[in-house]
Symmetry: D2
Subunit: 242 residues, 4 copies
């Protein structure tokens, strides 16, 4: 299987079974909701580049479900009265992002509980899991994502969604610090701009985990499932241990 090391495609050497074993793996899809993706002027926190990945994410998730890889959708939801964001300790991006992009007209509506801005754009299957208490950039704090992963017996996560240079990168740091093996699906994440996307993936490849194409992950997992069916036990044992 190929991975991208500092932006350069190359074959993954041996010794990475803890990262790529299909058993114990879950997909964590981050913030692919209307609040980032809506193509309307009132979109409260636009991440327009991420619209490009929606179809690919849906296909990736469908393929993963067929291989019995669970899919977890994480989304930002803050209390409707603003008590844990704009009327509390206001999210830092509300201060600093406008210094770069200028005023964001409807940003106060971002992630408000009960609003359309919390609706997923990607397909959520009945078998999937949802974490809907993301409040800031992290998918882990103060959510129950780590708790859910423990309950599911997950040891490895594959990330997709937006934005590469903030919430994806933050989730990659957190997951890795907590002991999960991390892979980022390079073609299924988008960020502020091409420069930041490229840099975030480079950082991940240097310090945190693997960066790979989603098709290559599906192919690798499919191969493992076939071996399991055929009785070859090699990677299964890794999964049980890893």
């Amino acid at each position: 299987m190929d991975v991208f090391v500092y932006g350069k495609r190359q074959p993954l050497p041996g010794g990475f079974d803890e990262f790529i074993a299909v058993d114990g793996t879950a997909i964590v899809s981050i913030d692919l909701h209307q609040g980032h993706l809506a193509d309307t002027p009132d979109c409260p926190c636009p991440a327009p580049r991420a619209r490009e990945v929606v179809d690919g994410v849906n296909r990736f998730h469908a393929a993963a479900r067929r291989l019995n890889v669970p899919v977890i959708h994480v989304k930002s939801v803050v209390r409707a009265d603003g008590s844990d964001d704009i009327r509390g300790i206001k999210s830092a991006w509300r201060y600093v992002f406008p210094l770069f992009v200028g005023p964001i007209p409807n940003s106060d509506a971002h992630a408000l509980e009960g609003s359309r801005w919390t609706q997923f754009v990607t397909q959520v299957d009945a078998r999937d899991h949802v974490v809907d208490t993301k409040k800031r950039l992290s998918a882990f704090y103060p959510t129950d994502l780590d708790f859910l992963l423990r309950n599911l017996g997950i040891r490895r996560v594959v990330l997709n969604g937006c934005m590469t240079d903030c919430c994806i990168l933050n989730a990659a740091f957190d997951a890795s610090n907590l002991g999960y093996r991390v892979t980022v699906a390079r073609d299924l994440v988008r960020g502020t701009n091409a420069e930041m996307e490229d840099a975030a993936l480079k950082m991940i490849s240097l310090h945190i985990g693997l960066v790979a194409e989603s098709d290559d992950l599906i192919a690798e997992w499919g191969r493992q499932r076939q071996e399991q069916t055929a009785g070859a036990p090699a990677l299964r044992q890794v999964a049980a241990r890893g």
Copy 2:
């Protein structure tokens, strides 16, 4: 005061008192120890670019102490028997960083409790605080840094140390998610290379907090302390609230 937004120096507009108020601010200096900075072939996790900031960090800390801004030194220490790293869930960088830089000869010795690799290179004053249970990329998990900051009544942190594109960036994410206002001292952090340093600072300026020169921070804090002495109460009140 000037800050750097996506790499561009510009004056900080109003509305950022929560970030720059001197009261309630602490400096968090990350991993400026022999394990990264030693200029010997057995340095277990070399971050040679960070050697450049040691003198500047010492001066910054000295000036901060004179302004009654507490200094917290964080360092990586893992158990000497390897149980929480190389013989446990091995740090992810041990897998992926060598894909970029090649084998790291003495990396197994990194951060081992009791070894010289855990000795600070920067000066630690009797008034300073030390957090010595950093285990992975985060300065917050699984350490007591947040607990210490709560006990000190801290609301704002200024980060320096290494490496910009992993542990500094990770600490910036964590601190911000926990509700602390974050500033990174641009001249006092170093990373993997110039490209990654530049990109990490851009990400911080977009999503997390302020990026500023250490001299400008000292000047701003000094100005506030003088105003306080003169009895002008403006920023004091912010500090009490913020």
Copy 3:
């Protein structure tokens, strides 16, 4: 104001302003929902003694709102598919509580998302806050309660609800460890039986915080609010510091 020390009523001496200052205080009401309180044979996790406190809790909350003390309602909700409880790492009480009380007929339905068992029995006002990701005995892990309290600027919590000897006691431990000052409203908590209620309150009074009557808390807070109106600043300053 009187408190109960190891079950014995006595006047609270000086030096406890950090615990009783009305500013910075929030009420945390735990698990007063149908899943514990329903008086039907299919109640999945019966805590029948707690039915006695519902009216008192409602009165306490109403009085607190008039004094601008925020009310936070915490409830247990687990995923409807059982993935984070009965089909995951099953809650420990499911194993051990039946050793004492015998089989609990409908216990698998406890706290299932979307079921009536997650409906509050107590009144939830539009100004109140709800934390609905309690999964186990703790009100803090893996919920966003601490995050919410930070955002609200809360330093002191007053607990009511059920059960005294598990979730109330657990919340008291957690809140105290996190640096909040804890008071338990003695008349507004109920547990497994009188012996366990009495013992849990004794433990709290020994190690964690204050045990007091709800009426005495309201009276104390009302007195402070009157003093504030009258301009007496004493406890206000404590609240700002504490």
Copy 4:
């Protein structure tokens, strides 16, 4: 194997393999240090009843090591300058415990880093692990105990030490909420007095986990090890899954 349910000894029925499987089990021994156990007038936080368990704990640990069950010693250590306790957010017990026991002469010295009050009274073997950042009643927050347990692959913990009605009980709550299966070694814990010890063990048996004699645990684990040697795989499989 027998357990104690609400204080009554009875045989443990089937279905508790997740609790008693020897593989994946660690012993967590809490706060058996001079600060609690010293029999001198300057003992800063006396827990005299716990002196009774020291010999038994040493024997239990020795037997456990022979069965390859890891032993983790947790102790309270706060910064020597008081910044994270008496000069920070002072531990709650410092306020409330004296209401019951009267003034505690040398309590300010409790757990001070570098002092004799942080020395273990029990034997610490070279194979054991030490967690020395306990700051309040919890053995988990803000320490790295959960991180260590994850790295060791631990799923079950057996608690001993002091005090039953505060730090042991708190650790039992935390461990259970985090998904670990909990057993308390009934004969190897001591608390404030007999009433509180009895009540805490009852609470644990109702809501959290098993209460058992240490000799019975050693016998059960020994039996399992013998079966493993003999090739009987039953509980091994549980351990791998559980």
